[in-house]
Symmetry: C2
Subunit: 201 residues, 2 copies
């Protein structure tokens, strides 16, 4: 009998352990709940603050001006203190960086899918997606904005601190000129850059 | 005593249920293990076959030729039978579609991050990323390729079957002209389109 009880305890412990493990390995801990879909500015800013990577597109020098998308990590600020402007840590070895220095026109696209709150297909309109179009600009080294951006990047992506110095990493930002947001049925939602940037987390 | 035993059974069942639930809700079941990183063609094709969404970039009509990235779902074939060519199901209401019909130059970027096999930051070179550059072409309705592509799309994205007819969805493919793959340290890996397409899953 005692053996049976022990066995049961062991089984309980095993499943408890598995459950904790699953939770620990899930990609994201949501810090802020998804806002009401009718609040367009809140929805856009939430998506930018909760996600950590997206695709940055520039005009390719190598491929005759074709659009070149590239998977990159980003940060719009310290957790809970984002300002909506995506900052990037890019190396001169990357074609995206070289493209941007020649022609700054760029866009940055992110999906709600990696955040873990989508219940349907990544292309279903209820799974938010956002494209910020504008100019990809290099920040002056040592400037106030560069220091703040670097802190924002290194906080969300601690590994960046160890990236090789010889690769000439440098901080860039996307100066936003247009916002394309889909967060529900009915096509892209109307939101100005001013409405987006004014929103306080 | 019997009550205690029942209670234990209930607790066991509860944790078992939670564990199953967690597994069921995890985004991906890996059908094929990640290939050896030295096999460049296998690595690229594996990433395309295992992922289900990415960012498709075109040249924006609305924004003066700026690159416009857009989150989209895709499929390169039935599970285990992919051919490496990404197919998309796009509506004429989408700016990406309108852009492509004016200028077909496009790129498609995907990350290993959603597959669930990355152990580090999405921008760390050990977390694979792939950009296919080429032409985004609309397939002829009713053609053999369109039928195969639609089946590939609907199998990986069953929700697509219910998307509204009035939105004029149509099948597109990316005719690949260049491959940019990072799947380890040391910069982009060298692979030709021919090597990529010839590879058999």
């Amino acid at each position: 009998m005692e053996l049976q009880v022990r066995l049961r305890q062991l089984i309980i412990f095993f499943f408890l352990f598995l459950t904790v493990l699953e939770h620990a390995s899930s990609s994201r801990i949501l810090r802020i709940a998804k806002p009401d879909r009718h609040d367009i500015a809140a929805s856009a800013r939430w998506l930018v603050s909760q996600n950590i990577w997206g695709v940055l597109s520039t005009l390719s020098i190598e491929h005759d001006g074709a659009p070149f998308g590239n998977v990159v990590s980003y940060s719009d600020g310290l957790p809970g203190k984002g300002k909506g402007i995506p900052y990037f840590y890019l190396t001169m070895l990357d074609p995206t960086t070289r493209n941007a220095l020649k022609d700054s026109r760029a866009s940055f696209a992110i999906s709600e899918s990696p955040v873990g709150t989508c219940k349907r297909d990544p292309m279903d309109p209820t799974c938010s997606k956002l494209t910020l179009t504008g100019k990809l600009l290099q920040l002056d080294e040592g400037s106030e904005e560069e220091k703040v951006a670097k802190k924002a990047l290194f906080t969300k992506h601690p590994e960046m601190m160890d990236w090789p110095e010889g690769h000439e990493f440098s901080v860039f930002k996307l100066e936003i000129m247009n916002i394309f947001l889909i967060n529900w049925y009915g096509g892209a939602k109307s939101i100005t850059v001013d409405e987006y940037l004014r929103y306080k987390e």
